[in-house]
Amino acid sequence: MPTDQIQYKSHPDNLILSEPNKFKPGTLRSEEMIINLGPQHPSTHGVLRLEVLMDGEIVKEVVPHIGYLHRCFEKHAENLPYNQIIPFVDRLDYVASMNSEHAYALGVERMLGIEHQIPKRVEYIRVLVAELNRIASHFIAIGTYGMDIGAFSPFFWLMRDREHILRLLEWASGARLLYNYMWIGGLFYDVPVGFEERCLEFVNYIKPKLKELNTVLIENKIFVERTANVGVLPLDLAINCGVTGPMLRASGLRFDLRKVDGYSVYPDLDFNIPIGEGKMGKTGDCWDRTQVRVEEMYESLKIIEQCLDKLTKEHKRTRDFDPQALVPKKIRPKAQDMYVRAEIPKGELGFFFRADGKSDIPFRCKCRSCSFVNLSVLPEIAKGILIADLIAILGTIDVVMGEVDR
């Protein structure tokens, strides 16, 4: 279509008809009103629209309207061979693509039955880059959260440090955000020469910076007063709503799929699972959720150090090492249903595959996205709070709309 023509005739009813409000003005009581938040609002972290029923400053109901970033992942996946779906998987959680790729590659490898044949060096590189990306994702979560509630400088500091991670990953894969680095059965490339040393430099650089972050933001009195006892998510509600990841752990359950399922080389690595303990207020409040993310970054650094140790000693770079050696020429799993899950920075990313055994294309590829499920808890915990706290709670859910809408 030529772009100089009018492609869309605007009409005032279009918005109302395509996504109508749940509450109608005629049915409200006289002191109630509907506030529309988003879809274009910096504190909604993307295109999320919240329909908020207010009584003065008190929130009575929140109705999230999603789907503004729906890109038909599942429909595309039903028309593409397994290896060509990986770039689409990148675009689900676009700030932590490596982790999503890891989950997807794990699923297809398990269907093919080659999960345990993957060379250890490949798996250690996968875990290394995935954990780097986990730190980058948590940087965004904490940085934008600080900005949401008024702390501006930590955002810049975290973006500066995130840039180092993105450059490392760009060096390895060629792209800054959407990598297509992990292939089914292997990797696109081995990591470049000198990557391990630079990675170690980064680890040593970032440790004092994290301490600095703790002092300036996490344990800052203003931040604690703002987030402690706000948006408390009780554990039973969290489990019932299917919440996973740092949100579930902040509610006090030591549940991490890297430990529980022990996929990839995680059983060989030594790391802890931080949980929320209600240090500043009640367990499961906004402060706990932020704190769990910060603690997780330390654990990720521990994992990275161990991976680097393995990659420079036991599973050293050799001349004849081919990261694509096990990549199958034809990816055709036998007929089966498979649900596979893995821990990405936001929680449990699951893929449900149905293979018919006759083609290279999945019959069905469902993505169980953690942001989608985590966001569904918002209407439950946002009843009877102040509207300013609604923003504070939404920030700690850490939604990435690309993954919510798929």
Partner: protein, 158 residues
Amino acid sequence: MLDQFLSLLSPVCQSEPLADDASSPQAIKIATQDLVKVMDTLYHNEQTYFDMLSCITGIDNGPQAGTMEVVYNLYSIPFNYHLMIKVMLPRERPAIDSVSHLWKTGNWQEREIFDMYGIHFNNHPDLRRILMPADWQGYPLRKDYKHQDYYRDIKIEY
């Protein structure tokens, strides 16, 4: 483990639940009318205690087969059990009972299946489209889906 689940479930089912071998995790096929009773047992029984509903998947087997499926992936945190429950539906006017009274996460996940497949969930508290616009025509993930040519004067190209 699967035999234990089957022996637990067969008293509450009207038609016999069947084991399905070609799945990972292990799967049980049940009839549509038994769904709520089965889920209630799995959720409340102290030997199973499936407290987490990980994922609900809708599947369209195409107009030739004439069936649709809904697949529930359950997980029990205290026992570390996985279980897949499969329900077969007709393709004409598919309807199934909602499980959102047991797991609140069912609410949005069922809405998504309604949105994509047009499967109606009985007793659902708030069955509206979730990802597609409210006035979208058709159910996009059905195998015989044909998209409309124009949506609000926007030409749809694929």
